[in-house]
Symmetry: C2
Subunit: 410 residues, 2 copies
């Protein structure tokens, strides 16, 4: 990979060659992929991008960590829509709001970007089996992308994972183990099993290439906005890998002179589980927290990518905001009604945080904001039903329906 | 609409002007939109299409029934992936199999193509409210696309509609009524209510523009195959509107010289509800049937688009095949494991039918086949869980996991 200098530890600064199955630094720090931006700059210009017919995440391959002759593997990931949201913009009283609906990726979440990368890197390194732990979305996206690539998966999920994600995993033929324990215990078991059996490691905690896959969401936002960055980008934060990827994508685009700045990151966590935001707010290091939120995908008490995430939020001049489960439920309904986007609880947390900041008057009235919806609401129907309640029933004659409508029950 | 000659009754041949809210012929027959192909031909060429940057269904607007100055409304519909499926191809022993995953449309089904059209036509005609009945997908796609467009919806679904679709409807803010009765009774109530309240009518049974929206799936297939048609296209058939649209799309492309033939349609219905296939097989007219299948989206005992559907299947030299619920469940698991595509039961029925025909030796060994997956498996998780069973649980220590793996339980 001539366009890559190496992988640098975000803690001690050591630099390693970018082997396809590299994990963490000997000091325990996570790694960041370093690009030779001068070499990439002439190969990835605005004109080149505009002329490109590949409408997947791989359209940015010059700034992705794969070999020049690698054929990307997995499903068709990326090019999710960026919706203009005029009614919600008015409601929030800001300049312009866009929703990036990453729940429309093949397995229904932004994690497909990381999993397509993992599957591609595993194939590059010659692995036939991949292992990971996940609260659900990383798992189902790995299982789907690996099935498409003909690669086996061993996957560990905590018992609280929603049924929709479990069903996906089983359908995709993953070797699935439901761990009777917390996410932290699930992660520890996956780590031990991956070491013992020698599988390719897709844990976002230790695999530096996954953030690189996730960053494509930011590359797309810049391109979809006509090579401009918004003033703010709102992101739901759990493990920290996604927000780190979002930052990295904007950072890359600035280095390549494809946009002029990195937007301020609005880091949104659940009030019941917010170790990263607490660290940002206090200026101290992060401390393990309990996982008290129904937004399962961001219920991560021990965030493995905290170092990268906290730096990303701070370096962007970002804002940390926590939201209650009720605020998440309200944002989910608002997004559905005003934009036609149905996100899962963790997926709409970013929008809940943005709504809260707008109500508090924190966001300037002329600001342009992109809110990323990280997962599809169909993954967690039971939560959705609880949020919206039961619909009215009617006998099949018009008179019965008219009574309902006259009573304002429909 | 200068490119449109009018709407012709498929039963009596009467031609009507293409008003945006036209429904059926005075004889009771359904209408088909007639294009002036000579006028369109110079405006929609291979070169023009290849240069186009609009990657939604509206990239084919010259052959769609909207005014030249109409701005399309709704969500970002279309450009669903066409996956090459090498492992399933080998398993089936045919030349080449592609899966068109239309479950990746914004609300998770092919019906988004019809609903985006309905919302656009309703806006053209100045309506502020749209009504429809549906087994679920038409409803949720209408609700989502209308929410994006700021248009109100009144929607009627039968009590058997899966929870996932109900949750979508509620999230999108539809005025929803669950009808305690069959789909036929639900349809009748929607018809009466639409007439009484004067809403725009999105019932695929009577709105000739919805097939036109659906046909874009075929336009895309032709373009994705490099302006070629496959030998066969497998379609799940319920009401008949989708298969009619698929035929129309290929027909258009042939008229425009953008492909050389219409593929033979493999019409797949559930063995427990197959009035259209029965008519095709017997050569008689269709007769109402009970709705005995768990594949809810194609459980239509009174198919309203039977006339168009039966003509489409016959005119293409098509094959009718019925599949049991068990065969649908098996196809769902096969698609997940070998292609990484998770379709809903009705959505994978087409593939179940194709598998059956291949096992029977009906499909030539060198044939190229496209199987359309019409809906996302996440819409019906309960059925999926029943199909795949419960996953194994483990304590969080490695020894417990090793026992599972040694016992072949993972």
């Amino acid at each position: 990979m001539k366009h890559i200098i190496g992988c640098r530890c975000v803690r001690c600064g050591s630099i390693y060659p970018a082997a396809p199955d590299i994990t963490i630094c000997s000091c325990g720090g996570i790694l960041d992929v370093l690009y030779d931006y001068d070499a990439v700059k002439s190969k990835l210009t605005k004109d080149i991008l505009c002329a490109r017919t590949d409408h997947t995440m791989w359209r940015y391959r010059e700034i992705l960590p794969i070999e020049e002759d690698t054929t990307p593997r997995g499903l068709r990931v990326g090019s999710s829509p960026l919706y203009d949201a005029p009614r919600l913009t008015d409601q929030l009283g800001i300049g312009r709001l866009y929703l990036k609906d990453d729940g429309l990726n093949p397995t229904g979440s932004l994690k497909d970007r990381a999993s397509a990368m993992a599957v591609t890197k595993a194939a590059e390194a010659g692995y036939r089996t991949i292992g990971c732990s996940s609260t659900g979305n990383a798992a189902s996206s790995l299982a789907g992308n690996a099935a498409a690539a003909g690669i086996a998966t061993y996957i560990f999920v905590p018992a609280r994972a929603p049924k929709g994600k479990i069903a996906q995993l089983m359908m995709f033929g993953a070797h699935l183990t439901v761990v009777d324990g917390s996410y932290e215990e699930t992660y520890a078991l996956s780590k031990a099993a991956i070491e013992k059996y020698g599988w390719y490691n897709r844990n976002a905690a230790v695999n530096p290439y996954l953030s690189e896959g996730k960053k494509t969401v930011a590359l797309e936002i810049v391109e979809q906005l006509g090579f401009k960055a918004p003033d703010y980008v709102a992101v739901s934060v759990g493990d920290g890998c996604t927000v780190a990827g979002v930052y990295k994508g904007f950072y890359d685009m600035v280095q390549l002179s494809l946009c002029d700045r990195i937007p301020r990151i609005i880091s949104v966590q659940a009030a019941g589980c917010c170790p990263i935001n607490t660290a940002v707010m206090t200026g101290d290091g992060w401390i393990q927290q309990e996982e008290n939120t129904y937004a399962d995908s961001i219920a991560v008490g021990v965030p493995r990518n905290a170092d990268k995430a906290i730096s990303a939020i701070r370096d962007s001049g970002g804002i940390a905001v926590n939201v209650t489960d009720d605020e998440i439920r309200a944002a989910q309904r608002t997004l559905g009604k005003t934009v036609g986007v149905f996100g899962e609880p963790a997926g709409v947390a970013a929008t809940a945080g943005l709504i809260k900041l707008c109500e508090q008057g924190v966001i300037e009235r002329d600001a342009t904001v992109v809110s990323i919806v990280t997962g599809n609401g169909l993954k967690d129907i039971d939560s959705a039903i609880l949020s919206v309640g039961e619909p009215p029933h009617s006998q099949s004659d018009l008179a019965a329906f008219e009574r309902l409508i006259n009573d304002n029950k429909v």
